[in-house]
């Protein structure tokens, strides 16, 4: 039983990273109709930025947790203005070329400066140790990640569902052209939403730094699973991306421990789930068929 609790807990923690990344991809896709293949690179930049800030300027984790999402959000907004917004009128192939190209550029810039080896990042002192839950104890830092991510997702959900800004974003995501016809300057919201999505990726990166190896390819490895998460949740569905993020984290953790005798299954279980979901619901679990403009 305690093994099960352990697996479930670890699955939720991995799921928290998937949820944060998928949430950013979902709001970006919803508003811009751009699939941001560079999302993993921004996650990596978040972790690397935290590492560089600590080792070269002595900036602690808590400050990095604020600085990096803001800095990367601003970088994202600048990129949106400079290049991403040009994608709207082009064939989707250019979307892939541009954002994948950005990934390679960002990765190689970091590689050139810091090499490909992984760098350790110490867990902040306040979050070291473990929390005793009676029957089991879990590392404090992981408990923090889980709680923080859940709060953040609830906060994003609250803004989207309860505020006027959220209402406009939902309307513009569902039917951009119709929303313009109702007097709303959808274009004005595009840049901040892109920056917000990138900021979330950066935040996930900072959170990952003490837990995972910080290296230039850390985003590339993760983002493939995140795309599966987004497809399962339903491309553009905010709730779907978060639910599928945590769900896939669980499925992966359970698969790895209970199907370890069948490595072919346990290593590909995310994609098996994705294939089954797509056969059953082509728009994803919480996605809707694309509405007319």
């Amino acid at each position: 039983m305690s093994g099960f609790a352990q697996n479930t807990f670890n699955g939720l923690v991995s799921g928290a990273f998937y949820a944060l990344l998928a949430l950013g991809l979902a709001v970006i896709f919803g508003m811009l109709r751009v699939v941001n293949f560079a999302h993993g690179a921004f996650y990596m930049l978040g972790a690397f930025g935290a590492y560089v800030l600590l080792t070269e300027a002595g900036v602690p984790f808590w400050a990095a947790l604020v600085i990096m999402p803001l800095a990367l959000g601003l970088l994202g907004m600048a990129l949106e203005r400079a290049v991403i917004h040009r994608l709207t009128r082009l064939d989707p192939l250019y979307n892939f070329l541009l954002t994948f190209g950005l990934t390679l550029i960002l990765q190689d810039l970091v590689k050139t400066r810091y090499g490909v080896q992984s760098s350790p990042y110490a867990t902040p002192a306040a979050l070291s140790g473990s929390v005793d839950f009676g029957l089991f104890d879990f590392p404090t830092y992981r408990v923090f990640i889980l709680g923080f991510t859940v709060l953040l997702c609830v906060g994003v959900w609250w803004v989207l569902s309860r505020t006027r800004i959220g209402m406009v974003v939902r309307a513009a995501t569902e039917r951009p052209e119709l929303t313009r016809a109702f007097g709303i300057d959808v274009g004005r919201w595009v840049t901040p939403v892109f920056g917000f999505g990138i900021g979330l990726a950066g935040l996930a990166g900072v959170l990952a730094a003490p837990m995972r190896a910080v290296n230039p390819l850390m985003g590339a490895d993760l983002i493939i699973v995140v795309f599966a998460v987004v497809v399962i949740g339903g491309l553009g569905s905010i709730f779907g991306s978060v639910a599928a993020g945590f769900g896939i984290g669980l499925v992966q953790a359970w698969g790895e421990s209970y199907l370890s005798d069948f490595p072919i299954v346990s290593q590909t279980i995310v994609f098996i789930v994705m294939a089954v979901v797509l056969l059953w619901r082509p728009a994803g679990l919480f996605g809707r068929e694309e509405a007319p403009a």
Binding site: M167, V168, R170, A171, T173, E174, R175, E177, L178, T179, R180, A181, F182, G183, I184, D185, V186, R288, A291, P292
Partner: protein, 230 residues
């Protein structure tokens, strides 16, 4: 109020409107009738600024709209009632109503909207796409009244509605007209059209074939219906 001059519109290579010119005076209700594919909906979309391939000018109260994006046209008082009713699945009924900013001199307060549409009030917290087709049509009309739009662009507001609901839509448009609202209406239902409108344009193959008043439409109803293929 609305003046359209030499408006041509294209879908790729295909030309759907050819040098259309027409005017709608303030407070008038004018319909566009014509067969499917005659270009009626495209004409409304051009006025709203939602059709990219167009030539010619559209002006409102003497102000050229041609270069303005759709959202700025809406803020000048254009109210869009799309042919698919434009209900947002991710917004509640109340949110659907309050999404557009108030743009005109006489926007309906939400309380008044709900008084006039008790069915919408009863479902105010449901997703708008959970409403019946008729209720969604009421929502589309209520939304532009709440905006306070001065010129309504209604694309077949009676399509698929029961006779009772058609009558309600007619009452609403007449009431709006009494408050000085101008309406440009795409309509296939000639009986409904003569009941609410002052004048009619027959659109054929992208051109204005005829301009008619109510008595002319009534006296030629059989001929027109045969032409429209209804």
């Amino acid at each position: 109020m609305l003046r359209i001059e030499n408006l041509s519109a294209f879908y790729g290579e295909a030309q759907v409107l050819r040098e259309v010119s027409l005017e709608v005076a303030a407070g008038e209700v004018v319909t566009l009738v014509g067969r499917n594919g005659a270009g009626k909906s495209t004409l409304l979309r051009c006025v709203m600024g939602l059709h990219p391939g167009q030539r010619g000018t559209v002006s409102l109260d003497g102000r050229d709209l041609t270069k303005l994006p759709a959202y700025k046209r809406a803020r000048l008082g254009l109210g869009w009632v799309p042919d698919d009713r434009g209900a947002y699945a991710t917004l509640t009924v109340t949110e659907n109503l309050t999404l557009p900013p108030r743009v005109g001199p006489d926007p309906w307060p939400l309380e008044r909207v709900y008084e006039a549409f008790p069915a919408l009030y009863a479902r105010r917290d449901s997703a708008a796409t959970m409403l019946s087709g008729g209720e969604q049509q009421m929502l589309a009309l209520a939304r532009v009244l709440r905006m306070g739009a001065r010129l309504l662009l209604c694309d077949e507001p009676t399509e698929g509605l029961s006779p009772l609901l058609v009558q309600q839509v007619g009452d609403l448009l007449r009431e709006a007209k009494q408050h000085g609202v101008t309406v440009l209406l795409v309509e296939q239902n000639l009986h409904f059209a003569t009941g609410v409108a002052d004048r009619h344009y027959l659109l054929a193959e992208g051109r204005i074939a005829e301009a008619m008043d109510n008595s002319e439409v009534r006296s030629r109803e059989r001929e027109l219906l045969a032409y429209l293929g209804i």
